[in-house]
């Protein structure tokens, strides 16, 4: 098969993994034994998939409170993530972090902040380290429209542009911060426009079209690998479920159902899979198979996670200070 075809299948698989992973969480969450606040990214899968597919294992990726998809797309194992959400010792953060603080150093995820805007400068810092050490890695940082309102956003863009750091800023503009619409938080101007004020390349892209997502990220990342200016891509998108937890917002009167319906029609998986069928890249049967396989993998991962031991109470008193000093 030609490269583009393989790529498309790969993109679809990544999106599917994220979608199914989040749906699994929705299913199990009511049992109340996954005791961590979950911020689902259903509806936004194309961004994680389309961006991260451009990354190498050693590249750094910085996510935020809504980070399940980003970690999966970067290569983290569903088992270690789910064990973490279930508070088990085999979780990626040994149960200390939960859903909001994934870590996976082998995949370039050095930890996660759930403070809005908190991860942006930290990502600039990993990019700075790459520049100082000339290790050839780039950093991608994901953050929301809300995070772009924090002072750290401005401070980070200024510094990244000043030092021409190898970093791609990815703003997932899903129009909301918790239940607050962007209209009550920002004047009606693209976030990407701000990036231009710092001399960064700033572009606005449909975040629900995975090929558009991919292409924009690809060219921005190629520029970084070439030593050119950093970029900011603003992907317009929408989160289908509540800010936190497994429920629909319209059921609680938090957001309108009409708005949701418009965005459901722009489901990043649906439109893409239709295209793949039309282009004879996948058959219905293959799609079903992939679905089933994914389901099995994730059921396994859930069972695995739930079978893992909780940390011993003594773990509470560990990991305050690194002890491996020279």
């Amino acid at each position: 098969m030609e490269d583009l075809t393989l790529l498309k299948i790969e993109l679809y698989k990544k999106m599917l993994l994220i979608r199914r992973f989040e749906e699994k969480i929705r299913q199990v969450y009511s049992a109340q034994d996954m005791k961590t606040p979950v911020h689902l990214c259903i509806g936004q899968e194309a961004i994680a998939a389309g961006v991260c597919i451009n990354l190498r294992k050693t590249d750094y990726m910085v996510t935020n409170h809504r980070g399940h998809g980003h970690c999966l797309a970067k290569g983290s194992s569903p088992k270690s993530l789910l064990s973490e959400y279930y508070g088990r010792i085999t979780g990626c953060a040994h149960g200390k972090g939960g859903s909001m603080h994934p870590v996976d150093p082998e995949n370039g995820i050095l930890g996660t902040s759930a403070i809005v805007g908190g991860g942006i400068p930290i990502a600039v810092g990993t990019a700075l380290a790459s520049k100082l050490r000339k290790d050839g890695n780039i950093t991608v940082v994901f953050f929301g429209d809300g995070a772009s309102e924090e002072g750290t956003f401005h401070e980070s863009l200024n510094f990244a542009s000043l030092k021409k750091l190898p970093i791609l800023f990815v703003c997932e503009n899903n129009l909301y911060a918790t239940n607050s619409n962007i209209k009550s938080r920002q004047p009606n101007i693209d976030i990407a426009k701000k990036a231009q004020g710092y001399g960064l390349n700033g572009v606005v892209i449909d975040g629900n079209n995975v090929m558009d997502v991919y292409n924009a990220a690809k060219s921005a990342i190629e520029m970084l690998r070439d030593g050119q200016s950093p970029s900011l891509i603003e992907y317009k998108t929408y989160r289908w479920f509540g800010h936190v937890g497994p429920d629909y917002d319209h059921e609680k009167g938090l957001r309108g159902e009409e708005e949701l319906k418009v965005w459901l029609r722009q489901c990043p998986l649906k439109s893409f899979v239709d295209q793949l069928l039309k282009d004879n890249i996948l058959t219905l049967q293959q799609i079903d198979e992939m679905d089933n396989e994914m389901d099995e993998t994730l059921n396994d991962a859930i069972s695995y996670a739930k079978s893992q031991p909780y940390p011993d109470i003594s773990e509470l008193y560990k990991d305050l200070f690194y002890e491996g000093a020279i």
Partner: protein, 347 residues
């Protein structure tokens, strides 16, 4: 007295209120009511905070207020804590009376510069010419594996900053009266609410009233040990006192109500009687309010102390996520009981 009473559970609260024919509302309703009345009675008062106009209304405390008063007086904000605190300060020095609401106290470090370097110092720096009537409401209390960045009680960080008030209401009555006092006070006030007691019910008069800063309350009289309990720990202290009573240990429970100013006289008088001091706080131990109270006691009423002072706190670690670790993290009335028993037994 009905307004100093602590109701440790809903049944006893309802019983008491019915018997006395008093109105009871919850802690969160008390806060909402205070704000409602402040907004109605003073056109300079306005509320601001991230998502405060949302349907949930900051766990119920601002519910519906935006519909009543409009989005200029109940103002949703961008996510920009330091800048917005500065903006609130600016409005305050120009005569407004902002109440800035944070869903979690963990977000105050973001605004630390404006709180510490600006709000706290403004009146002094201007030689007493311009005051800052700013109330900062922030909510503490663990969620659901909320972990290190969403579970903190950070009132200790403000203790060492001159120019701030720190208010830690434990009852619905105090929550309402202190919030009204905070707005009237005319100085920057860090108002610390505890989410675990949001649904606790108690006597709250319908009219507006104030609870003064710097006046602690003896929640239960006793002779053997002085137990100073902060915020939600008042409830754990009352439970512990009840258990210990049955074991012949007579605990005096003091709720300081505000920790800055601190009603040290009330605490000292109690120590003069009991000779023993225990402080239970809802935060990490080192550098906390417990240390400050203990130090003042040993400075001023040393000769009355019969035994070591003890503290009950979270361990000096960030909050872990895993439920097993999380539940080991938080002390409760059992920890208070064993601590006091050890103290009395001289261990």
């Amino acid at each position: 007295m009905p307004w100093t009473r602590v109701n440790i559970d809903e049944v006893s609260a309802r019983d008491f209120l019915n018997k006395e024919g008093l109105r009871g509302i919850s802690y969160k309703e008390a806060i909402r009511e205070a704000q409602h009345q402040l907004l109605s009675n003073n056109k300079d008062v306005f509320l601001l905070g991230e998502g405060i106009d949302d349907k949930g209304g900051v766990f119920g405390t601002t519910k519906g207020l935006c519909d009543i008063f409009g989005s200029e007086r109940v103002m949703d904000l961008p996510i920009a804590e330091n800048g917005l605190t500065g903006i609130a300060i600016g409005s305050a020095i120009a005569g407004m009376k902002p109440i800035f609401i944070h869903m979690r106290m963990d977000f105050l470090p973001m605004a630390m510069d404006q709180i510490v370097n600006h709000a706290a110092k403004w009146f002094y720096m201007t030689g007493g010419r311009v005051n800052v009537p700013l109330v900062i409401r922030s909510i503490i209390g663990r969620g659901w594996g909320s972990a290190a960045q969403h579970s903190q009680a950070l009132h200790s960080m403000f203790l060492s900053i001159p120019g701030l008030r720190i208010v830690v209401p434990s009852t619905p009555y105090d929550a309402k009266g202190l919030l009204i006092e905070a707005v009237n006070d005319g100085n920057p006030v860090i108002f610390v609410e505890h989410r675990w007691i949001y649904d606790y019910i108690g006597y709250v008069p319908e009219e507006m009233y104030t609870v003064k800063f710097g006046k602690g309350i003896i929640r239960k009289h006793g002779n053997h040990v002085t137990l100073v309990a902060i915020s939600m720990m008042v409830y754990e202290a009352m439970k512990a006192a009840k258990i210990l009573e049955s074991q012949g240990i007579d605990v005096e429970v003091i709720d300081p109500v505000t920790i800055k100013p601190m009603d040290e006289e009330l605490i000292f008088d109690s120590i003069k009687k009991t000779g023993r001091l225990v402080i239970a706080d809802v935060a990490c131990k080192t550098g906390g309010v417990g240390a400050e109270i203990a130090c003042r006691a040993v400075e001023k009423v040393f000769n009355f102390l019969k035994a070591p002072i003890k503290r009950i706190n979270f361990p000096d670690f960030p909050t872990p996520c895993s439920p097993v670790l999380e539940s080991a993290y938080y002390p409760n009335h059992n920890d208070i009981c064993s601590c006091i028993k050890e103290l009395i037994d001289g261990k």
